[in-house]
């Protein structure tokens, strides 16, 4: 977990997509929205999940590791940048390897694009656009101390489990206090698809 980072609390999210519109206003990728907003409980409730780049720390950025063109760079402060425009060949390795489903791709332009934590803003101490406007604080930018001052007793976790592996990220999720020692489930293994048990 980085010092100043993003904290995500899907429980507060109202699915309004302010983050989606705000992302487009960020000057570093003006006009293109990188954030994902999914309604994860379709048909049952209006629950939603915003997904920004989690800026994986260990292993360092799977997207960068699988990149055949060394196009994804990680800055000294732990921010995983979007693909270098001169190097990216648009192979989509990062798109499909990312365990969080973050990178997007412009196939015509042969270019990957993804959340870079609004580097143009965070580099100057401003919060990223999505966290700046988020009406609910589901996306929060700051230090863990600042978060806990605003939300007494809140706890966060920065480790996700995917099957047998764990991924520690620069961006953290809000979890209940009794769950803080456990990794957050990443969704793998998948045990059931559309009512069918797929455990082998």
């Amino acid at each position: 977990m980085m010092g100043r980072t993003m904290f995500i609390d899907p429980g507060r999210c109202i699915g309004c997509q302010a983050c989606v519109s705000a992302c487009r206003e960020c000057d570093s990728h003006r006009g293109k929205s990188m954030i994902h907003l999914d309604y994860t409980d379709e048909g049952s409730s209006v629950a939603s999940l915003p997904t920004v780049c989690m800026h994986c720390e260990d292993p360092v950025a799977p997207c960068a590791e699988v990149c055949p063109a060394d196009a994804i760079l990680v800055t000294a402060d732990g921010v995983v940048q979007q693909a270098d425009t001169t190097r990216c060949i648009g192979c989509a390795n990062c798109v499909n390897a990312c365990p969080f489903g973050v990178p997007k791709i412009d196939l015509q332009a042969k270019l990957q694009l993804k959340c870079n934590l609004c580097y143009d803003r965070t580099a100057y101490g401003l919060a990223p656009m999505c966290a700046t406007v988020c009406p609910t604080g589901a996306l929060y930018y700051g230090t863990i101390e600042e978060l806990q001052a605003e939300r007494p007793g809140v706890q966060v976790a920065d480790t996700f489990v995917f099957g047998e592996s764990e991924v520690r990220t620069g961006v953290a999720m809000v979890v209940p206090a009794e769950r803080v020692q456990w990794p957050v489930p990443g969704g793998l293994p998948v045990v059931e698809i559309n009512g069918k048990d797929v455990r082998r």
Partner: protein, 398 residues
């Protein structure tokens, strides 16, 4: 069915939270306890991390890369020696340039070897070449490769999709550099010579490896072009590089994360080379050689610097870019066989089957333990993770 009208969630009941009716469910088999707990955190992390660290640049890779560099630069030296007819045609004034190209050859070969040794690039490198050399591929679509080379490497259509202005500027730089390279490299190596029977023109003969290929009058249009090819290249490069430089100072998207050494230096180098090159011509025509010496040194220093910089900075993309053709050919081959891989949950296409298998292999090479995840589309990954959070972490506010 949800008991309607009676939804009281006080206190929150994470254990009793509803399971989604449709879609996929996720869970760690045997409950969260198996991987949980302060002691059980990060299983096998130490070993994996060590393996990963050791992989960063193994001895064997750097050794192999150095060997490749040595072989390639050795071959280049031989080519120079024999191409210039045992240095008969070699222009000793151009020696610094020739030495720089030898270093360039070493650097590129070294860097290239290191690059294609990394798992992601290595697998794509193999698959790309395999598609390229596939006889069946060639039979089925003989035009695919030339078309791809023309659109991706020549006309760089993909840049047009990023921005028309950037495409135009890049095309100027690209063709300018191609022109300059075609003229200067053979000249430097002593492969080209221009000889005049009369000693001072206007009739000239152009020779490659000593063999006359073209005779022309230096006062004719062709002659003018032959002698001013480098000036033309400079005229192409300057506006292109100038546009990029201007953009790097003005466009906030470009400025974000921009580094001087990586992003600015190459542009400045191109501009310095082009401007000093033009000034050399200017000096010889209008100033009767005034300042020529100084300009020549400046020009040479900037060129040598740029050549040596190529393998290590932004210009390495020139070497890397053909990988885009390999990648595309690899995917194209599988698409022709209708090998499209669909997401295991939503059944929307993800990419070609061989591509997904290639990616899983890369992830296994890298010891990323979640390669099975590649069979789900990014949206399903997020939805499954969101669902897991809802059912296993917390459903709502608390």
């Amino acid at each position: 069915m949800r008991p309607y009208g009676g939804r009281v969630t006080e206190p929150p009941e994470p254990a009793a939270a509803e399971q989604p009716e449709a879609g996929a469910r996720t869970g760690t088999t045997g409950g969260t306890g198996t991987t949980g707990g302060p002691d059980g955190r990060r299983p096998g992390r130490g070993a994996a991390a060590a393996a990963r660290a050791a992989r960063s640049l193994p001895q064997s890779v750097s050794g192999r890369a150095a060997l490749a560099g040595a072989v390639v630069s050795g071959l280049l030296i031989l080519a120079i020696v024999f191409g210039s007819r045992l240095l008969h045609d070699f222009d000793s004034a151009l020696l610094p340039y020739a030495v720089a190209t030898v270093f360039l050859a070493f650097g590129v070969a070294y860097r290239y070897t290191v690059w294609v040794s990394a798992p992601g690039a290595r697998r794509l490198f193999r698959n790309g070449w395999r598609s390229l050399f596939s006889a069946e591929n060639f039979r089925r679509t003989p035009t695919a490769l030339p078309k791809m080379i023309a659109t991706y490497l020549g006309f760089q259509k993909f840049l047009g999709a990023r921005s028309h202005a950037r495409w135009a500027a890049h095309q100027l730089i690209f063709w300018g550099c191609i022109l300059a390279a075609l003229i200067t490299f053979p000249l430097t190596w002593g492969w080209f010579t221009f000889t005049s029977d009369s000693g001072a023109g206007p009739g000239y003969a152009m020779r490659i490896w000593g063999i006359k290929v073209l005779g022309f009058d230096s006062l004719s249009f062709i002659g003018w072009v032959m002698f001013h090819g480098l000036d033309l290249a400079a005229v192409l490069v300057i506006p292109g590089a100038g546009y990029f430089l201007w953009r790097r100072m003005k466009d906030r998207g470009a400025i974000t994360g921009q580094r001087f050494a990586y992003d600015m230096v190459p542009l400045l180098a191109l501009i310095v080379i082009s401007v000093t090159g033009l000034l050399l011509t200017f000096s010889s025509i209008f100033l009767h050689g005034g300042g020529y010496e100084f300009l020549a040194v400046l020009h040479m220093v900037s060129v040598v610097f740029t050549l040596i910089y190529i393998p290590f900075g932004k210009f390495f993309h020139i070497v890397q870019r053909p990988a885009a053709v390999g990648m595309q050919l690899f995917k194209y081959t599988a698409r022709q066989d209708d090998e499209v891989f669909a997401c295991r949950r939503c059944e929307e296409p993800i990419d070609t089957g061989p591509y997904v298998e290639n990616l899983r292999g890369t992830m296994r090479d890298l010891e990323l333990g979640f390669d099975a995840w590649a069979e789900y589309c990014p949206r399903c990954k997020r939805v499954l993770r969101g669902n897991a959070y809802l059912t296993q972490v917390k459903k709502g506010f608390k």
